[in-house]
Structure formats: structure tokens, C-alpha cells
Amino acid sequence: MIRLEQVDKRYPNGHLALSGVDLVIRRGEFVFIVGPSGSGKSSLVRLLYREELPTAGEVFVDQFHVTRMRRSQVPRLRRQLGVVFQDVKLLPQRTVWHNVAFAMEVVGASSRDIAKRVPQVLELVGLGRRRDSFPHQLSGGEQQRVGIARALVNNPVYLIADEPTGNLDPDTAQDIIQLFLEINRRGATVIMATHARDLVNQVKRRVLAIDHGRIVRDELKGAYHEA
């Protein structure tokens, strides 16, 4: 379970990105976070994997008290999560295969498991043939899918995806959303910040709308725009 209590986030330059955010996301939910550009979606998501700490309020992710945990515990938190970053964040000097495998090496998976699992997820995102390419040799959408594969590879309890389909054509985006729905059915919690109106309207799951750092709407079977 993810819980945010009265969370404020003010960046060092004084910009208030989130204010008074109260939020509970239960295990197994599928949540869209929507809102205009610069409304605070990424800021919210970054609190969950503790890239940023809130300036006020508390954040809990399962047993982790994110706002109070020791620095040395952070890797344990992050291993519970699979994160697709808005800016992808691939390791530029490693191949597609290695980028995905790295996430497994980090958790100490065996070489055999890695050799078995990595091709599977690459196949899932349609990059089975590109395993030996380097990130700079991929198209924007291909890079994004490597990021998705990396997030999925450890079968995370929480999948946190920040604008994962921004560089994907509608058909590929559709494939990806079906993939997310599938792993959600198998028990994973999915949190997806997105601008993809069609996808949000199509799958009819919980929608959390943010504007100017405040949660302005929270509907269980919502749409991208207010009904």
C-alpha cells in the first residue's frame, strides 16, 4: 500500500510543485495520474522511489516509511518498484541487453535467471532483435521500450511509469497498455502518469487528476477529462 499524508514539495529554487497531497493506493490497483504539463505528476511519482523527499508530510510504500528511512535502505525500497522514467535514463555505454540485465544484477539474480528472463521481457516490448544495440542506436520509441523492459524485468510489486508512451505510436502504445493491464491482473500495482487521453478513456481505471500541485479529481472508473 502506498500512502501520502499532507505532502508538500517545494524545490530548492522556491517552486511549489505539490501541496497538501493526501493519497492512498492499495495493492493491485491501476492508477492513472493525469494533468497539464508542469502540474506535478513527475514530482509526485519521484517521491515514491525517493528520488526526491517532500518538504512536508509523510510517504509510505508498504513497510517503508520513505520520508524517514535510512539512506542505506533506499535500494531495498527501489527494488520493490519497477520505474519507467519520463526521460528514460538508460546507461549510454551498455547494450539494450545489458541495460535490462543490470536491473537484475542489482538484485543479485543468478546468471541463468538473467539469461532466461531478459530475452523474455525484450520480446514483450518488441525488441527481441535489438539486444546488442546501444541506446544511441535506437529510435526514441525503442529507447522508451527498453526503459519499460527494465522496469518489468524483476516482476515488481509496484510498476511506476512516468509518461511511458510519449514516444510510441498508438498501436505500440496499445500493446504496452495491454501489457500493463496483464501484469496488473497478475497482482502488480500499476501507477502511470500519462497524457495519453485515448488510453485513459479506453481502460476506465482509477484516474487521479493533478493541477498546480493539488489533486483535483480522484475517480475510480474515470476518464482523462472531467465527465
Binding site: E51, P75, L90, L91, R94, F102, V106, S111
Partner: protein, 295 residues
């Protein structure tokens, strides 16, 4: 650490060095060059030390024997004194040898030479060499106590000066080495910092994917260590060949000049460069990576 993790770190290290080929080259060559400069001056200072030691050993005492002492007694003392541990070298000279020396020192003082040739007023005696200038006084006293010894002469001032100079040379040598070691240290660690800096984003990504600090640090530290070690090896190879050449050149140009032997030199340089390379390479990376681990 499990063998699997070890293997992972080893592979990561090699991988990092390989993928950053160009940067690796720049860093290794910087390390090698600074270590070579350091080694070069260790070589110099080993040689200065060697010269100082040689100079010191030139400090001698001249012992004169009463006239009319039988040659046998004189040679007995020679034999005996050779056994004294503080005596490094002792050689006997007769009064005619002393006269010859005087002649060669004042070749144009004809009247003086005439006098010497007529009735040599000089004495038999010994040239005694000490191991260390500080022992000269002891040796002199010991000889003075012997009844057959007429007088003991030693050049106190020159000995003191040489002593002083060698002390200073040694101190300066140490000072230079310390300075260079410091310079090398900061150059190497700056280099490694710049290299790590160029990869700071990579470190951030690794952390966000769930890597522990140590998981990220180890390959970097190993990389730094390998970098330092390769640099050190390159420097040592250069010193080895360079010094062989220098010895040959020195012997040809100045046969009288005392040159420290190769093994003595390598012994010092290899020790210092390898330790510096290893330690600074490793610790430098450790420190450099730390800056970027707080993500």
C-alpha cells in the same frame, strides 16, 4: 563476497575501462606520467644519497708513526687496525711515498724538493677511512693512545662541511619527494575525479534502478586501481629502461662519478609507484564516486 558478485565486479571493471577507452587512455597516461616524474626524482635522490655516502666515505684520517719504528711493528698495527669494526679501510704509506705525494702537490718548489730528497723529514703512516664522519673522532682518539703513533691529523672542517652538505642533500631529496608525491597524488585524484565526473549520470541511473552504493562503488574503485596499477607499471618500465641507459651514459661521460646500481633504484621506485598507483587510484575513485552517490 560471493564468487558471482566478484565475477560481476571484475567484468564491470573491464567493461568500464573498455567502453570508456578514450578516457581510460587519458587517465592512464596522466597517472603514468606523474608517477614517472615521481620515480625519476626518486632515482635522483637515491643517487644523491649514493653520492653523499661516497663523499662521506672519502673522509679520512692520517696517522703518522714515530721515526725509527721498525717496519714490522708498523705492519702489525696495520693488520690489527684492519680488524677494528669502525675502520672501513686503512692503507699504509712510507715516508718516501709521502715525499712523492708532496712533490706532486708542489711540483715547482724546487728548493723544498731538494731538501726532501736530501734528508726526508717526513714520516711513515696510515690513511684511515671511517664508515661515517661521526666515527672519525673515535678512531683518532684510539690511534692517539698508541705509543708508536706520533700524531693524528684529520680535516675537521671539511668533514663537517661534507657532512652538512650530505645532510642537506638528503633533506632536500626527501622534501622533493614529498612534494612530488603530493603533486602526483592530487593530479591522479583530480584525473580520476574528472573521469568519474564524466560518468556521474550513469551513477545516478544505477542508484535509481536500485543498486546499493557498494555495488556501484566497487567497479569504479577497481577501475581506479587498475588504472593506477597500469600507470605505475608503465612508469616503472620507463624508469627501468631509462636508468639502464643513464648508467651507461654516465659511466662513459664521467667514470669517476658514483652511480647508484639499478637494483637499488628499482627497489625504491617500484615500491613507491605501485603503492601510489594502487592506493590513489582506489581511494581517488572511492572519494570521487561518493560525490555522485547521493541520489
Amino acid at each position: 563476497m560471493r564468487p558471482k558478485t566478484l565475477w560481476y565486479f571484475g567484468r564491470e571493471t573491464g567493461y568500464g575501462l573498455w567502453r570508456n577507452g578514450w578516457m581510460t587512455l587519458a587517465s592512464v597516461s596522466t597517472v603514468a606520467i606523474s608517477l614517472f616524474v615521481l620515480a625519476f626524482f626518486i632515482v635522483l635522490s637515491v643517487n644523491l644519497n649514493h653520492i653523499a655516502t661516497t663523499l662521506e666515505s672519502e673522509v679520512e684520517i692520517r696517522v703518522f708513526i714515530h721515526q725509527k719504528i721498525p717496519r714490522q711493528t708498523e705492519l702489525n698495527l696495520l693488520k690489527q687496525a684492519k680488524g677494528w669494526p669502525i675502520v672501513r679501510k686503512i692503507s699504509f704509506f712510507t715516508k718516501s711515498q709521502a715525499a712523492h705525494q708532496l712533490q706532486s702537490e708542489f711540483p715547482d718548489q724546487k728548493a723544498l724538493l731538494q731538501l726532501i730528497n736530501q734528508s726526508n723529514p717526513l714520516f711513515d703512516g696510515y690513511d684511515v677511512y671511517a664508515h661515517h664522519p661521526s666515527q672519525i673522532g673515535v678512531i683518532a682518539r684510539r690511534f692517539r693512545r698508541l705509543p708508536i703513533v706520533q700524531s693524528v691529523v684529520y680535516e675537521g672542517l671539511v668533514a663537517k662541511r661534507i657532512n652538512r652538505v650530505t645532510e642537506v642533500v638528503r633533506a632536500v631529496g626527501w622534501g622533493i619527494e614529498a612534494l612530488l608525491a603530493l603533486a602526483t597524488l592530487s593530479i591522479i585524484s583530480n584525473t580520476i575525479r574528472l573521469a568519474v565526473f564524466a560518468r556521474r549520470r550513469e551513477i545516478g541511473v544505477m542508484k535509481l534502478v536500485g543498486a546499493t552504493d557498494w555495488f556501484i562503488r566497487w567497479p569504479f574503485v577497481l577501475e581506479g586501481t587498475v588504472l593506477g596499477l597500469v600507470g605505475a607499471a608503465a612508469a616503472d618500465v620507463a624508469v627501468n629502461y631509462g636508468y639502464r641507459w643513464a648508467i651507461r651514459a654516465a659511466v662513459a661521460a664521467m667514470p669517476f662519478w658514483p652511480v647508484a646500481p639499478l637494483h637499488l633504484v628499482l627497489q625504491h621506485t617500484i615500491g613507491v609507484t605501485v603503492i601510489m598507483g594502487l592506493v590513489i587510484g582506489g581511494i581517488g575513485s572511492l572519494v570521487a564516486v561518493r560525490r555522485f552517490l547521493h541520489v
